[in-house]
């Protein structure tokens, strides 16, 4: 399936979408850019810190609500589109449900286990209790209301056509975000045969029954890195931070990197992958799954 098709079929306007779940690597930028290209509206974005992806979606006017621990850009901190939306309602007003990294994870685990809330020991003494209506102090704990994404979008190293995804490196909240969601879209660096994925069922991130689309999208997390495939593209990070300072700057950036680019393949031709490609091999020692 192409990314355009996956986004068109499975992420309607108004969806609650979890992305950026590995915090810093494996951010599904290709999917985010496709959401912007298709002009998706009124999304609720769910995630921990999401690199600059949420900032871009806010700048493009796709977002109704942010349910996250942090929105900015990793290279310099402040998210300029986030600021404009929150401070001036530009390009539109957004609602903010502040979380911490721990609390957004617990909100997703609550959805995973289908309970209305999970109790937790964080957030006591924080004013986030005043601004997030879905977190309440109770009995010396906080009760964190379940957050259930309609769709979780994950970028991974490899996946087969049946939706069995192998991801490695730090995983952040990828597992709970996938399990909590109604459906999951996976984009991957390599589309592999099931003999690869089923050779290691412990590395399969999610049950295939959650996965509705597999998109073979090399470079799909660029400029965020993929362990074993490519490093972070700091230059692009920095350029975004700089250009997004003004609305016009963001619009020009979005035109160049999103609207004038029909798909990820064309995007990849615009970036200098040679300088960030990982060419070394540090292979995991295999595990023997034999039964005889």
């Amino acid at each position: 399936m192409t990314m355009a098709e996956a986004i068109a079929r499975f992420v309607p306007d108004g969806s609650t979408v979890a992305m950026g779940c590995a915090l810093e690597p494996l951010i599904p930028f290709a999917a985010g850019h496709e959401l912007i290209r298709q002009g998706r509206k009124d999304l609720e974005l769910v995630g921990p810190i999401s690199d600059s992806l949420f900032d871009q979606l806010i700048g493009a006017g796709c977002v109704r609500r942010i349910t996250a621990a942090w929105v900015g850009n990793v290279s310099e901190g402040l998210g300029h589109c986030y600021r404009r939306a929150a401070e001036q309602g530009v390009p539109r007003e957004i609602e903010i449900h502040d979380h911490t990294n721990f609390s957004i994870s617990m909100a997703l685990w609550a959805a995973v286990w289908n309970v209305p809330y999970l109790p937790a020991r964080t957030l006591l003494g924080s004013d986030i209790l005043r601004t997030n209506p879905r977190i309440k102090a109770a009995d010396g704990l906080v009760h964190i209301e379940a957050v259930r994404p309609d769709v979780t979008i994950l970028h991974v190293q490899r996946c087969d056509a049946g939706g069995r995804a192998h991801a490695w490196g730090p995983l952040g909240i990828s597992e709970e975000a996938g399990l909590a969601a109604d459906r999951v879209i996976v984009s991957c660096e390599e589309l592999v045969d099931e003999s690869v994925t089923l050779s290691d069922p412990n590395r399969i991130l999610l049950p295939e029954t959650k996965v509705v689309a597999v998109v073979h999208e090399p470079g799909g997390s660029h400029p965020a890195p993929v362990q074993g495939f490519f490093k972070r593209d700091h230059a692009l990070d920095n350029a975004y931070a700089e250009e997004s300072r003004t609305r016009e700057g963001f619009d020009a950036w979005a035109k160049r990197w999103i609207f004038d680019v029909p798909d990820r393949l064309r995007y990849m031709a615009m970036v200098d992958m040679d300088s960030i490609r990982i060419t070394g091999r540090q292979l995991s020692v295999p595990a023997n799954f034999a039964d005889e």
Binding site: Y82, E87, T122, P170, R232
Partner: protein, 253 residues
């Protein structure tokens, strides 16, 4: 003696001395990650670092990290896992020391990384907590590093993202159910603040070489309390400086 060092290098040296050998440290990016590497190479060879992205490491990465999730921080890790597992170690009291960044800190060590001005209509929307509030509430003790400016060191933050010692009354944290011990130091470009053991207001513990108390007072948004015999911050040693410079690229921008 090393008279030739930058403000940042001094801050890194001070931060690295906060790390004791064998400790589990919730490491942030930029200066703290260099401080962690310096500590491991000098006085704390058995420290371990924990990263909320879902990593435990011993050896500090030696190439530039844009984020804690960059590939050099992953290769050779002691554990690559889910964030909620990392938080579990912290909520169980296993994280000895955390580093937290912030835009604003107040006299009681409370940090604001959320809203300047009213949350409904903020003057500045800051990025938010990330894991900051979790570290502030749950690590055994924590430290923040900050550029010393009057707009950053304020009397009271208007929004407490990451609680320090709350309203400054003794025992505020315990009374409010916060498990960790709270902030023990604010390391600025001019001085080092510390806190009384039972919590409360930050006081100037040491002033950096070449800085006067008057300069500290001028740049601080509250009426600074100072020990009568305030000492000078010990400058980086030769060994510290060597390690800092070896690693400078790791946290470089």
């Amino acid at each position: 003696m090393s008279s030739d060092y930058t403000q940042q290098e001094l801050m890194i040296a001070v931060a690295s001395r906060e790390i004791r050998d064998g400790e589990l440290v919730f490491v942030g990016m930029r200066l703290p990650i260099i401080a962690y590497g310096v500590a491991r190479s000098t006085h704390a060879p058995n420290a371990r670092g924990l990263f909320e992205v879902g990593l435990m490491r011993d050896r500090a990465a030696t190439t530039y990290l844009g984020t804690m999730g960059d590939p050099p921080n992953v290769t050779g890790a002691l554990w690559a896992t889910r964030m909620s597992n990392v938080m579990a170690l912290m909520v169980q009291g296993h994280v000895d020391l955390g580093f937290i960044g912030g835009a604003e800190v107040d006299r009681f060590g409370n940090l604001n990384t959320s809203y300047v001005g009213p949350p409904e209509k903020p003057r500045v929307k800051l990025p938010g907590s990330g894991g900051g509030a979790d570290i502030a509430i749950l690590s055994r003790r924590w430290v923040t590093l900050m550029t010393h400016e009057r707009r950053r060191l304020v009397d009271r933050v208007s929004f407490v993202t990451s609680p320090g010692h709350g309203d400054g009354s003794p025992g505020w944290r315990k009374r409010n159910g916060l498990l960790g011990g709270g902030p023990v130091a604010i390391i600025t470009t001019l001085c080092v603040f510390r806190f009384p053991p039972e919590g409360g207001e930050a006081f100037v513990d040491t002033v950096h070489p070449g800085t006067t108390l008057a300069e500290v007072r001028e740049a601080t948004g509250w009426d600074v309390s100072v020990d009568s015999d305030v000492a000078e911050t010990p400058p980086p040693t030769e060994a510290e400086l060597r390690e800092i410079r070896l690693r400078a690229a790791v946290g470089a921008r």
